[in-house]
């Protein structure tokens, strides 16, 4: 931090209002914060908290129906709102750069990545092509990309690398402030970890400030020095990350922090019940009153001002700051929030419902006519390559892995949405061929799958009633008591059952509600087996915890077997009984959740676990950064598929593939010759040397 007397960016009492046909939405209601030179600043909050609106206001990119009612945005002491559109454009990119939310799609597919950055440079600086090209190479180096690849097109990079390109582009003109809107959302843990590492690294090398907008507190805890927590368009708490996250003084911060699932650490996450406030008028009470367990009369009357806490860089907007310590203790208890604690004991797992044995799903790659004619053997993408697993009643099996490891294909193959190409699997003791020969209806009723994207998994032209009722019609199940069946199911998943709700269309529902409707659709025919493919990846933290609790309850009370597929290890650990780690179409480690999470055997599991961000800024996390990317599933290396990236790999690993149960005992197996907790230091060293060699070639 450099000490200049004036902060780089000052947002003062910003009020933004959107006018819609149904009246106004007060998105931010007096947000103030300031960012000093060289500081990483985090802006956190759930969706609808106004964090993106605040950033868009700073950038001057508010949508047309958004107006700034009052407030000032001072950049280097100059009020940005007084500038003309043209002057504003000059400030943008030149001094304030922006990394948009879906940065991976923000690159022009028909222009080389280097060319796009060069264009940005030449637009603002009068430099020669060679000079610009030099700068591009330098930038590629800074963000950790190979400088030789500036001539490559976006599609030649993976998602994480494309994200690096957009970061390089943002850095091109050495801006004083970079605004990043959810830069790692949609990336999986390992890639996210690498990007965060890059951002921190850049922070050390370049003296620019960063405004990071995210809903993940863990990401802020790891990268930022200061933060503001927004709720209902108001700042609830702000100050240095260490103070705010270690000793929160605002009930909202406590709730948010407690609902963030963590791999290690005690206790179940506690979600905040209720939903974000309706912002159709400016909040007169404290924005959080409705959901706050500590609310009193005083809270109803006014929204508290941000008050400085003594001796610290820490401000909180709460009427009860003085009770903070007591509230912190209470907030960790679920019953404070009015949540019934279900009995902690795990229900007995029942008989095996689904079992796969060496299940394969290979996709044939399209061949040219010539090679077909020549009779060349086609090449295959081995998406699922010999997976054996079993799931019992009342059990939740978590399947974890990076994107592209084949976990979604596995889910779809188990749901018989795509035809298995090898191996066997049985459902209810009958092989899948039995179902395919005329018993598909039975299979489709008993096994249900829930897809990732709640915004696309419901037919936009059907009402909730139709959506939930349709499976009943299809399977001719409980048709005489349709209405009851629908109501019951909606109650199970915790949705309202009023006629008004039943007549709503998906776009009128919130993300969490949509995902619940999707689950209700699956549950209405009383299935035995549920496959959930990343059901929570697009939901806010507290909604995510709600969903996990719901699934847990379903497994415990309805005796449903559940497969939960996700890249988010923290939520998997939270919800599952057993955990299977998948890498390139194979299971590398399987076992009871506690053992896999606490004492991983496979080095890949280890690095996955270490990649999850820590919400507590005081904890120093040891990163196990993996080199490179997963190999191409068409052209798999011989031997252990993980060997090329493994820090411990030896010649043995490269020549022969370890069996799925090469290490471990019954109940916890790993496909590794040198499991972590049994590994000896000599092997480790040999592995190091080997890695150096492989870097050389």
């Amino acid at each position: 931090m450099t000490d200049t007397d004036q902060p780089l960016l000052e947002v003062d009492d910003l009020r933004v209002r959107y006018s819609t046909s149904e009246g106004s939405v007060y998105a931010t209601n007096g947000v103030s914060f300031s960012i000093d030179n060289g500081v990483n600043y985090g802006l956190a909050g759930e969706s609808g908290s106004g964090k993106s609106t605040a950033a868009e206001a700073v950038l001057g990119l508010l949508p047309e129906n958004g107006t700034i009612d009052s407030g000032e945005i001072r950049f280097k002491g100059q009020n940005l709102l007084d500038l003309s559109a043209a002057e504003r454009r000059d400030v943008l990119w030149e001094e304030i750069a922006y990394i948009p939310q879906s940065a991976m799609d923000s690159l022009d597919p028909v222009m080389t990545t280097g060319g796009q950055i060069r264009q940005a440079i030449k637009k603002h600086r009068n430099v020669s092509r060679t000079k610009a090209q030099e700068r591009v190479r330098e930038l590629f180096d800074i963000v950790g990309l190979d400088p030789e690849r500036t001539g490559d097109y976006p599609h030649e990079f993976s998602g994480g690398m494309r994200q690096r390109v957009t970061i390089a582009m943002a850095l091109a003109l050495e801006p004083d402030l970079i605004i990043a809107d959810e830069p790692t959302t949609g990336l999986d843990a390992i890639v996210q970890d690498k990007i965060l590492d890059t951002i921190l690294d850049i922070q050390e090398r370049i003296d620019s400030s960063l405004l990071l907008i995210t809903h993940e507190i863990g990401v802020i805890a790891e990268t930022c020095e200061e933060l503001s927590l927004l709720y209902g368009g108001k700042v609830m708490e702000q100050g240095s990350v260490d103070n705010v996250l270690i000793n929160p003084t605002n009930p909202y911060t406590m709730g948010l922090k407690n609902s963030f699932p963590e791999i290690e650490g005690g206790g179940d996450p506690v979600s905040i019940p209720g939903s974000p406030p309706n912002l159709s008028q400016e909040p007169s009470a404290c924005a959080f009153t409705e959901r706050c367990p500590f609310a009193t009369q005083e809270c109803e009357q006014s929204h508290p001002d941000l008050a400085d806490l003594p001796n610290r860089n820490h401000r909180s907007a709460c009427h009860h700051v003085e009770r903070a310590a007591q509230m912190r203790r209470d907030a960790a208890q679920p019953d404070t929030w009015g949540i019934d604690v279900e009995d902690g004991e795990e229900s007995e797992t029942g008989e095996v419902v689904l079992e796969t044995n060496d299940l394969q799903k290979w996709y044939e790659q399209s061949q040219s006519i010539v090679s077909k004619f020549r009779g060349e053997t086609p090449t295959y993408v081995r998406a699922v390559d010999g997976v054996s697993l079993s799931v019992s009643r009342s059990e939740i099996l978590g399947i974890a892995g990076e994107s592209g490891c084949g976990k979604s294909t596995l889910g779809e193959t188990m749901a018989l949405l795509s035809q298995p190409t090898g191996g066997e699997f049985t459902f209810d003791d009958k092989p899948y061929e039995y179902y395919q020969n005329g018993n598909m209806k039975e299979f489709r009723r008993k096994l249900q799958i829930i897809f990732q994207d709640p915004f696309d998994s419901l037919n936009p032209r059907q009402t909730v009633r139709k959506l939930v009722g349709e499976p009943l019609t299809i399977h001719d199940y409980r048709t005489d008591e349709r209405a009851t069946a629908i109501t019951e199911t909606l109650e199970t998943v915790g949705l309202p059952t009023t006629p008004a709700f039943l007549d709503q269309y998906p776009h009128e529902l919130s993300g969490g509600q949509r995902q619940r409707v999707a689950i209700a659709r699956a549950l209405v025919v009383d299935p035995d087996f549920l496959i959930c493919d990343e059901p929570a990846s697009m939901l806010d933290v507290s909604l995510k915890v709600n969903l996990l609790n719901l699934l847990r309850r379903l497994a415990d009370t309805e005796d449903i077997a559940i497969v939960y597929i996700s890249h988010d290890l923290a939520s998997l650990v939270e919800v599952s009984d057993r955990l299977a780690i998948m890498y390139l179409g194979r299971m590398v480690e399987t076992g009871a959740v506690d053992r896999v999470a606490r004492r991983p055997k496979h080095p890949y599991t280890n690095s996955l676990l270490s990649a999850a961000p820590e919400k507590d800024p005081s904890v120093e996390r040891t990163r196990v950064l993996l080199d490179g990317e997963p190999p191409n599933p068409v052209d798999l290396p011989s031997g252990c598929v993980f060997a090329p990236r493994c820090p411990k790999a030896t010649a043995e690993c490269r020549s022969e593939e370890p069996a799925p149960d090469a290490a471990g005992d019954e109940g916890h197996t790993a496909a590794c010759y040198f499991p972590e907790d049994e590994g000896n230091p000599i092997v480790r060293e040999a592995g190091q040397n080997r890695e150096n060699e492989s870097v050389g070639d």
């Binding site: 949405l417 489709r444 249900q448 994207d453 419901l458 037919n459 349709e470 399977h475 005489d480 776009h507």
Partner: protein, 302 residues
């Protein structure tokens, strides 16, 4: 919810309610309202035009009190829209001419939209060889030029309204088919379609209840286009002299005014059919546009 408890009468009442609410919704859009009114007038003209026409459009001559045939007279109290070169009443021709235009336009348009929509839906949904066969068929109809082919057919067969409608549908379904197919291709990849399959829905249910409603707007738009195209095509055919010789249509009126060589002078003869065709096709577009808003719940609430 159960179907048994609802009597037929209630169902009909429910349906009419819905139709009314649709119409009320359309009426809120001013252009659509104008379109609705124009179309209503047009339909009335089509139904009752021939009966309310003061003269027979083809057989009767307009004569002076002396018994002379009044040729090419501008509008007057006696003949509100003037007379033609051949001494016929333009108003009567205009009124009677609405009927074939209505039949061809409505049936041709709806036929084009429906056939094209079905072909596109089936082709896009199933893909594979079904798609291959249907799309090559579409390509074939694309490669045949409409006018020459239609003229060729009509030289061998005596044209009548129904035949012309059929020919128009036969040549125009390709347009909606192509567009609907490409929409279906992207819709069927959406998660809710996969989710419907996973919940056990059969192909027919998935196709008509999940895919079709989401591509319907395009279907409607192209039906509206189809109405406009059909009217224009019928007018062109009539203008080229291949219309139904026994009846008057707006296209045939234009043909006559062109043939008589008075197209530059007799504006009262040119304008009524020209404005009629333009007004009907435009109002169909306006209604189609507003209707899309109605059936798309996402736009509706904004």
């Amino acid at each position: 919810m159960s179907a048994e408890s609802v009597s037929l009468g209630e169902r009909i009442a429910d349906r009419t309610d819905r139709v009314w609410s649709h119409l009320r919704f359309l009426a809120r859009d001013r252009l659509a309202l104008a379109g609705l009114i124009t179309l209503a007038v047009f339909v009335l003209l089509g139904l009752f035009g021939p009966t309310i026409a003061p003269h027979h459009p083809i057989e009767d001559y307009v004569r002076t009190t002396q018994g002379d045939i009044v040729r090419l007279a501008p509008p007057s109290a006696d003949t509100p829209l003037g007379t033609t070169e051949y001494g016929k009443d333009v108003l009567s021709q205009f009124l009677a001419g609405a009927q074939p235009t209505l039949i061809v336009g409505l049936l041709g348009g709806v036929g084009t939209g429906a056939l094209g929509f079905l072909v596109g839906l089936v082709s896009g949904y199933f893909g594979g060889w079904v798609d291959e066969v249907l799309m090559r068929l579409t390509d074939l109809t694309f490669s045949l030029p409409f006018m020459p082919m239609a003229l060729l057919l009509l030289t061998f067969i005596t044209p009548n309204v129904w035949l012309i409608t059929a020919i128009i549908v036969l040549f125009l379904w390709k347009m909606p088919a192509r567009v609907v197919r490409s929409e279906v291709l992207s819709t069927r990849e959406r998660t809710f379609v996969k989710s419907a399959r996973a919940s056990g829905a059969g192909h027919l249910r998935t196709m008509f209840l999940h895919v079709a409603p989401n591509v319907l707007p395009i279907g409607f738009l192209y039906t509206a286009y189809g109405v406009a195209w059909a009217i224009a095509a019928q007018a062109s055919l009539a203008f080229l002299g291949f219309g139904d010789p026994t009846t008057t249509s707006w296209g045939r009126m234009l043909r006559m005014v062109f043939e008589s060589g008075t197209i530059r002078i007799a504006w009262w003869w040119v304008l009524p059919p020209a404005i009629g065709i333009a007004a009907v096709t435009t109002s169909v577009f306006f209604i189609g546009r507003a209707y899309e808003e109605l059936i798309n719940p996402e736009i509706q609430n904004q």
